[in-house]
Amino acid sequence: MSELTTTIDRDIVIEIGDVPVRVRTGDSAFLQLLEKRYTGFVNRRSYAEFEFDVDLTPPGDVGADDDVRVLQRSGRWSLKRGDFHAEWDSASKSGNIRQSANPYSIDSILRIVHTLVLSKQGGFLVHAASAVRNGRAFLFAGVSGAGKTTIARLAPENATLLTDEISYVREQDGGYSAFGTPFTGELAKVGDNVCAPIAALYLLAKGPQNRIEPLAHADAGRALLANILFFAEDAELVKLVFASACEFVTRVPVYRLTFVPDARVWEMIA
């Protein structure tokens, strides 16, 4: 078999939040890894809004603990961390990724790409579990240890888990919708690829009894901003994300949810 036939490009389209991103790689093993990692979010359609070619490097060729840097220069984004370097042209919506054959690097790159896309659509990614119940989405935000995984694990059977770690929020149809994501936390369970209008945002705190308290807009805004993921060193986009968060808390009810970690907490979610 000639070398040409072994390096034929292969690709998949990973669609999160209705945004299809094509990832092209000549490595079939890596492709299979991606198909497994993004089960439920892979489609076979030919159209993709963004395209990336992946250039795989040997394992251990790059570090993984550096801070991420996301910069734009002359319309070209550079997404860089110790374990990856991606470049992405805003106009052509295409770019390339240099990383080893692991799912964590491309997972981070996809998160960053979606934060950039959402920043111009009145949306954001936020550290929050989310679930759909009776056709409405509920978000549960908090830092690590606040209870996102716990609340997701306690969700009743009639709730559809969107994520236990990173929620996808976009302004849509005059309100806000939450979309399922494959971005998992401790539960290690990929969310369902569905969306629903957001009914409420709960800020999690564990305590001796279940209690829900409405939050003033300013407190809600501060808390939401503290949990939003945004990496780009870009003043205009930072301002857009700030505006989106402020708008969100004026239109979606935000509560402090103190809870005992058992299933009764879901009796309060409606």
């Binding site: 003033a216 300013a218 805004g221 501060r222 930072v238 700030f242 505006a243």
Partner: protein, 105 residues
């Protein structure tokens, strides 16, 4: 700092009033500021054409029960602190405003 300096809001920030608080975020480093009522009055009056002492005398002392000297000291400290974070611009001359609304000295 002298209180005859002109104070202007930077175009490098985003601001939004939420309830009684003015929330401000620096576009450069994502630092979030929350201004109380008095600071918000200064913020809203910082048009680049009015000096800080005029703002204090005509706005702060009119709306709040506070001594002029004390209010000036507090306003000076606030303006300096926010200028260090790029929220305010300070100048001995009035700022010129372009039609776009961006400040230009």
């Amino acid at each position: 700092m002298n209180n005859h300096r002109y104070v202007a809001r930077s175009s490098e920030i985003a601001a939004r009033r939420l309830g009684n608080e003015m929330m401000i975020m620096s576009g450069k480093d994502s630092t979030l500021f929350s201004l109380n009522e008095v600071a918000t009055v200064i913020w809203e009056a910082a048009d680049g054409l009015t000096t800080l002492d005029e703002i204090v005398e005509h706005k702060i002392c009119q709306e709040f029960d506070v001594e002029l000297a004390e209010a000036l000291r507090d306003a000076e400290a606030l303006a300096e602190a926010l200028a260090e974070h790029g929220v305010f611009l300070l100048s001995d001359e009035p700022f010129q405003y372009a039609p776009s609304g961006k400040e230009q000295k």
